[in-house]
Amino acid sequence: MSFRRRLLVMFALTVLVSVAPVALIVSTMARRALDRANDERTVALVAQFRREFNRRGGEVARRIQAIVAAPETNRMTVAAAKPSPDYSPFLDDAQVLADAQRLDYLELADDHGTIISSAQWPAKFGYIETLIKPGLPSGPFLKHEETPSGAELGLFVVHAIPVAEHKIFVIGGLRLDQSFLASIDLPAGMRALLYENLDYASDRFVREHLIGASGSPHDPMAFAPIVQQVLRGGKEATSIVESDNGEESVDAIPLTGDDNQVLGVLLVGSSRQIYAELRNQIRSAALLAAGSGLVLAILLSSWLSARVTRPVEKLARAAHEVAAGNWNAHVEVFTGDEIGQLADTFNRMTGELLQQQDRLVQAERVAAWRELARRLGHELKNPLFPLQLTVENLIRSRELGQQEFHETFRESSTTLLAEISHLKTIVSRFSDFARMPQPQFQRVELKELLENVAKVYQAQLSKSNISCEVTTSGSIAADPDLLHRALSNLILNAIDAMPQGGTLRVSASSEQHSARFEVSDTGKGLTSDESARLFTPYYTSKSGGTGLGLAIVQSIVSDHGGRISVRSELGKGTTFIIELPSNAEKLSSAWSART
């Protein structure tokens, strides 16, 4: 990761670490405040519902009072006062009175509890109403009422009418059903549900027993846990319910009868949708602010990091250039801070390096000239001395007889020609080194190449008592003449290294992208100092060498894009290793150039 990116990430993380807790704290505080407000609203609404419930009870009581005062009831009381009252004429009266007073339930019973007339179940006349017993509830109460279609939950009021020493009981009520729930005014976002617990023996939740003002809720099972909690504990409970109506805060109130049995559960649901939306808005705003801050921070960080890292990057690029050999690299300095000082130092360093390089080049050039002069001197001095002696001998032979002069002249001429030839050879070698041609790439079968090279030196190897082992395979793209020349040099060096005979091993192998040549001898080996200087031009460890052989090899290898190395051990021998690339692309380009 670049310095700029690292700096950018650090800036961004710093901003994120700063902004995220703030956003979290704001969001949490907002949620708590909204939850508190929602709870308070629910409590207020539940209280309102309770008041409404009580108001309904009072309404039932007023209607019962009206029934008590009705003529039908009066006739019934008159009949009840008789010794053997006949209640058959009053069969329909309860229905008539209930219709008039808009009551869902109405029963009239005598002081034995015998039903005289029933609105909800007219056929129940003569049966006993178990409610009629000492300790009747004085106010509104809840009760399960049996009807032909099953048990129902109702809000009841009972009133006793004294008739001489007897009583007539009026038991009326309203059904706690869908219409009852619908008739209660509830604010928007609130709803009331009623669960009728028609089976006391079990706390099993029966989905059909849960009703709302607009019918059964679509997802009644969502309320099962809180309903069962209330049925088991008999206490009010509050829970958050996720239903088809969205998220709701549900307050479950047990509806108990006169024997404290839970007859039903009233569920007051307050939609949390508004609060959820508000909370989501706050959360969204917080996230938006955090996100925007983060983006802004990233942008600013990018700008800042770019501003901070630009000189460093320039320095890095300049350093890269220097590393690549361009010592002329220069960094502009705009600031006077540490980075500016670093750039100034860098510029001064490169300047110093350039000067040192110039000095080094000059020194090397001088050294090279000196070495060349030394080598040339040395090389030229050797043939010059015989030339000098031969010429001096020839001059002296002028003073001898004609016969002797001619003999001397012939011998001297031969010597002179030989030495001149030697001089020409020396000059030719230097000239060849200077005129090393560029390789002409073509497909070279390694086996054929090595066999040709070995064949050239077969006689010399036999003469020197050197056995030769050649192993080879594959092919390579290379200049066969140059490669032949390089290998010949290495083989000659190996022959020279084994004056007492030995073993010469030449191997070549190619892989997909490279080829490897090894030329090993079993000579006396090289010292580490000799190994280090081996490829220096004009350096030779041999008495008659020009020091150009390995330099030529290195030049050829270099021109082929490869490298040469030496591995030597004193007393055991030396191995030259040439590693060449396959140069397949040069083969195709060479083909294109020819066509």
Partner: protein
């Protein structure tokens, strides 16, 4: 017959005197509202004979209040071949409302159409009826309105009755006008306008508004109507209210359960409170006043015995009881039965439509002859025809007992039928089986 007419005239006169009118006079239109809404008045129609058919069509025989056959279109009858062949002598001088003479061939054709298993032949002024088995009650059967004589011409039924149809809107309205050629003398009324398909409440409303002169009164409202000062004429308890099973019991368990059901029902409470004593509890198909032995069949509630029977029924599936949803009294009775059977551990579910195990039925009486009525009841209940070994009360009892022992019917009540007539309606009369006889009815000027 003459004596019977004299008695009838005497009663009518007494009734007229009681109402302050001494002499009948012709004219006027009688307005009637009824619950029935027949699609046809033809006694041979597919829907069965309507009681309204008696306005237009007449039978060869009529039954008196004691159920005894009396001559009407027939003057006499004679049994031959051990009650398997009957010779019916027709009254002469009788004409249809289109002035065609009543002859034996027309009567034979009418009877053949109504009784496919009878062999009916015209023989001079008489009609000979041959049956596959002895039918000692055949004269009483001839009094059924389904055996009324009708002549069909151009797909129109023509009768010999005191009135003829002037306009008929099936199910809604029936207009009748006096048959001036009526063989027994033109009726006093010029016309009768009958509103069809009116329930008891609608009839009462029409009566209170002065838009009708005669209405039907539900059994449970008879006492109320009387208490309200209306003139109410009611019959003896005759219509049968019963629970009818769709199928016979399939197991001993079900047989015990049906016994428990029959014994658990509090018929007395139903009659006294729900029907307001508009009938009488019964365990028999025929009313006691008709058969004389009806009291033998237990009608009281016996919870203990019912529980014992229930215990014998180890596996009982709940029954479905269907009742007439349009009749609130039927609903209360059905609910009461539901409560009663629950007390002994049985379960009945109520239904107002669809298939059911049980039906709460009310079967109107058809004949004042016990044998014929029993046969008609068995037919209406889908029971096999009763096998009467003879004409004695013991034979009738055995036949009825056999029907009850099929456990396909549980009699509950015999209900009265009643009408309320306006004060200006005189000589209103009906047969024991509920047929209205309006040929002698006359209207006086209504007092303001």
């Amino acid at each position: 017959m003459r004596r019977c007419c004299s008695i009838s005239l005497a009663i009518s006169l007494l009734y007229a005197v009681a109402l302050g009118e001494s002499r009948p006079h012709y004219g006027g239109t009688l307005r009637v509202a009824v619950k029935e809404a027949p699609a046809s008045i033809d006694p041979g129609g597919t829907a069965g004979a309507s009681f309204l058919a008696s306005f237009v069509f007449e039978t060869l025989v009529r039954l008196d209040d004691r159920g005894m056959p009396q001559p009407h279109l027939a003057t006499s009858w004679q049994a031959e071949s051990g009650d398997q062949r009957w010779r019916i002598f027709l009254r002469s001088g009788v004409t249809f409302s289109d002035a065609a003479r009543l002859d034996a061939a027309t009567v034979a054709a009418s009877l053949r159409a109504a009784n496919a298993d009878w062999k009916v032949m015209a023989a001079g002024d008489a009609v000979i009826i041959e049956t596959a088995s002895p039918r000692p009650a055949l004269p009483a059967e001839l009094a059924l309105m389904s055996n009324a004589v009708a002549r069909h011409e151009n797909a129109k039924a023509i009768g010999t009755g005191p009135f003829l149809i002037s306009q008929f809107d099936p199910g809604k309205h029936l207009s009748l006008k006096a048959n001036d050629q009526y063989w027994n003398g033109r009726p006093f009324l010029d016309a009768v306008e009958i509103e069809l398909g009116k329930n008891y409440r609608e009839q009462s409303a029409l009566f209170d508004l002065g838009k009708t002169d005669v209405i039907e009164i539900a059994p449970e409202n008879i006492h109320r109507a009387e208490a309200a000062g209306r003139t109410v004429l009611s019959s003896r308890p005759f219509a049968l209210m019963a629970l009818a099973f769709a199928e016979p019991p399939k197991s001993a368990d079900e047989s015990h359960a049906r016994n428990a059901l029959a014994m658990s029902i509090d018929r007395t409470a139903i009659n006294h409170v729900v029907v307001q004593d508009g009938g009488e509890p019964t365990g028999a198909l025929l009313p006691n006043w008709l058969s004389g032995y009806g009291f033998v069949f237990p009608a009281g509630k016996n919870s203990e015995a019912a529980r014992r029977e229930k215990l014998l029924a180890r596996r009982v599936t709940p029954w479905t009881l269907r009742y007439d949803a349009g009749d609130p009294v039927s609903r209360v009775i059905a609910e009461r039965i539901q409560l009663n059977v629950r007390d002994v551990g049985l379960t009945i579910q109520l239904a107002i439509s669809g298939a059911s195990d049980l039906n709460l039925l009310e079967i109107s009486p058809l004949s004042a002859d016990a044998r014929v009525q029993l046969r008609e009841l068995a037919s209406a209940l889908g029971l096999p025809a009763p096998k009467l070994a003879g004409s004695s009360a013991a034979d009738l009892y055995a036949a009825e007992k056999a029907l009850l022992e099929t456990q396909q019917v549980i009699p509950l009540l015999h209900l009265k039928s009643a009408v309320s007539v306006r004060a200006n309606v005189h000589r209103w009369n009906s047969s024991a089986s509920g047929e209205w006889r309006v040929e002698d009815v006359w209207l006086s000027a209504e007092k303001p």
